[in-house]
């Protein structure tokens, strides 16, 4: 009955659409949320996935419970005893460095009765004490003190009562991820070709070491979390959503020419690239300036010499070709499902979690080379604010766009499908302004949600 209804509704909205393809997509026992018709070069997304609390509950186990999920960056824990407490995929965790220098991810839940044991967001401690009954854990997670422990039976084993931790916890180039899925492939394999794009970011640093810069931006967006995945890599929206940013750039002496080549909507060419396992990136020839290392008038005359020096260092260390890759391209990378590393006007690391089907919580940091000098660091942060963040010249308009989508989706039952076919009609390479990369995300998401293959 349900399938029948659905087909009728779809047919109403899309008269010309081949009912066969729809039947194929919907009539199987497991459900598909996309219509991916490569023959007809049509890709449609069922809008229910952006509004349904039921689907969100399934996502918590099938997506967030199964994938590698970003926890934090090693640079946030500089010294033994440093910790950060945060929520990762809805789980309160402690991301910390023990006295021996080892990094851990511990569930922030007392083994005794379940209270949060670390109530501070960041700091440096040797132990975490639960305020309820005083059970105390070392910063390696081991239970080290139980007040009045003589009241327990003799075989009560403190060793078995260390703080629990996610099944897997691994890192690549200081980016630490956890997985609740014991059987997942190693992070190294999961990242696949995305590693090359993380390398391109870390190559900004002479020592290959980047750090999270102090000052976190945390804000809610009244939209489904998956809309932020799309928005983070969707370069099609730039001219319409961000015209005031383009205007600001022009006012600041950055001449942005309209595209000359046919098929482009942006001034320079950019590609959308699949990286495996649902990971993908844009890879664009830069037109907006880069603190590493492409001067624009916005940075001011005095910055010219320093940026030339930064570039010289890149060329001598990496060779001219690789230096050009690092300095003259910008890339927005998505590690499935919810880590975004944007290497654009500056570098931002951004993650976001659902708080209900129609709301997400975003956390965003700035990333820079550990050895960056004072003036270069200041320029990096200033460049960040020209575009990114809740007070930036672009992000608030992205937020507005996503919230308008969510509001519009109240009509999902009557207007059921989102159109995402852009670029499918072409034989040639897929551009950043096409929707190839969005389709990569949705195909992977659909597969993990149990759709028939």
């Amino acid at each position: 009955m349900r399938h029948r209804d659905r087909i009728d509704r779809v047919s109403d909205g899309l008269i010309s659409f081949d009912a066969c393809a729809i039947t194929k997509a919907t009539a199987m026992s497991a459900r598909s949320y996309i219509i991916d018709d490569r023959e007809r070069k049509t890709f449609l997304l069922d809008r229910e996935v952006l509004v349904s609390e039921d689907i969100l509950r399934q996502e918590m186990s099938r997506i967030f419970g199964r994938c590698w999920i970003y926890v934090g960056h090693a640079s946030e824990l500089k010294k033994p005893g440093d910790f950060r407490s945060r929520k990762v995929a809805g789980r309160p965790v402690i991301f910390c460095r023990d006295q021996k220098g080892e990094i851990h991810c511990l569930f922030n839940t007392c083994r005794h009765r379940g209270a949060i044991v670390c109530t501070q967001r960041e700091g440096n401690v040797r132990r975490f004490m639960c305020i309820y009954h005083g059970w105390t854990y070392g910063n390696d997670g081991n239970l080290i003190r139980v007040p009045g422990d003589d009241a327990y039976a003799e075989d009560f084993d403190k060793v078995a009562y260390g703080l629990r931790r996610p099944a897997r916890f691994e890192q690549y180039r200081d980016f630490w991820f956890m997985s609740l899925n014991r059987d997942i492939e190693p992070l190294y394999d999961y990242l696949g070709r995305a590693k090359d794009y993380i390398d391109l970011v870390t190559d900004q640093s002479p020592s290959g070491r980047m750090e999270i810069i102090a000052g976190v931006q945390e804000y809610d967006v009244a939209a489904n979390w998956k809309l932020m995945v799309e928005n983070s890599v969707d370069d099609y929206h730039l001219p319409s959503t961000h015209s005031t940013w383009l205007n600001f750039m022009a006012n600041s002496g950055v001449k942005i020419e309209p595209p000359k080549e046919e098929g482009l909507v942006l001034p320079t060419k950019g590609l959308a690239i699949e990286l495996g396992n649902g990971n993908f990136t844009t890879d664009n020839i830069n037109f907006r300036g880069r603190p590493v290392a492409k001067w624009i008038p916005l940075y001011g005359e005095p910055a010219k010499a320093e940026i030339a020096e930064i570039r010289k260092e890149l060329v001598s260390r990496l060779g001219p070709e690789r230096a050009t890759r690092v300095a003259d391209t910008n890339r927005n990378l998505v590690i499935f499902p919810n880590l975004v590393i944007n290497d654009g006007s500056s570098v931002t690391v951004r993650t976001f979690y659902p708080e209900g089907a129609g709301k997400m919580h975003v956390t965003a940091w700035a990333l820079g080379p550990v050895e960056e000098g004072e003036s270069a660091r200041a320029r990096r942060l200033d460049a960040f604010l020209t575009f990114y963040g809740p007070g930036g010249f672009a992000t608030p308009d992205d937020v507005e766009a996503l919230e308008l989508v969510q509001q519009g989706l109240a009509n999902w039952a009557e207007d059921r499908w989102s159109e995402m076919s852009r670029g499918m009609g072409k034989e040639t390479e897929q551009l950043n302004s096409d929707e190839h990369h969005l389709r990569i995300f949705w195909r992977r998401w659909n597969e993990l949600m149990g759709a028939p293959v």
């Binding site: 102090a214 976190v216 006012n251 007070g391 992000t395």
Partner: protein, 166 residues
């Protein structure tokens, strides 16, 4: 003829000035508001987790020099600034005004504020925090040399963005 610089600054003078500033911002009279700024004015909103940070080493929410303020206002007055079109309606309540320091013609003042923000028909957002202004005496009033806005909330969270002048 020389203009005598007032030697004593009263809280009432400072309050009058801050109330006037608040009215201009709430009324979106942003050009007139800009006339209150010195040519080297700066506007800062530090991140919620590092209120005492330095914008050269810490990622702020807003860290505008005078030129950036000018550009910000061009942007938010533009109907293509989607986050502020339709414009937010704001209403600021300012209290607990204190003069922290007077150094020659510079006066550092602190004040508490609540800024209620409404957009379209959605939920009310309450920005609660403190202002710290560095004012330059100018005739019998002031101009703003630095304007720093501290948000009390631990994170921006449901407040969303600071797309208007807070």
């Amino acid at each position: 003829m020389t203009v005598a610089t007032p030697t004593v600054v009263t809280r009432a003078q400072v309050e009058d000035f801050l109330y006037r500033e608040a009215a201009l911002l709430d009324d979106w009279k942003l050009d007139e508001w800009q006339d209150l700024l010195t040519e080297d004015a700066a506007y800062y909103v530090p991140p919620n987790d590092h209120l005492d940070g330095d914008h050269r080493t810490t990622l702020f929410l807003v860290a505008d020099d005078r030129e950036r303020i000018r550009q910000r206002i061009i942007r938010i007055k533009d109907p293509n600034c989607h986050a502020e079109y339709p414009r937010s309606r704001t209403r600021r309540m300012i209290s607990n005004v204190r003069i922290l320091d007077v150094d020659k013609d510079l006066v550092t003042v602190a004040a508490n504020f609540v800024c209620y923000r409404f957009r379209r028909y959605e939920r009310i957002r309450e920005y609660v925090g403190g202002y710290r202004h560095i004012l330059m005496q100018s005739g019998d009033s002031f101009r703003i040399k630095e304007r720093r806005v501290f948000i009390d909330a631990h994170e921006l969270g449901a407040l969303g963005s600071v797309s208007f002048i807070l």
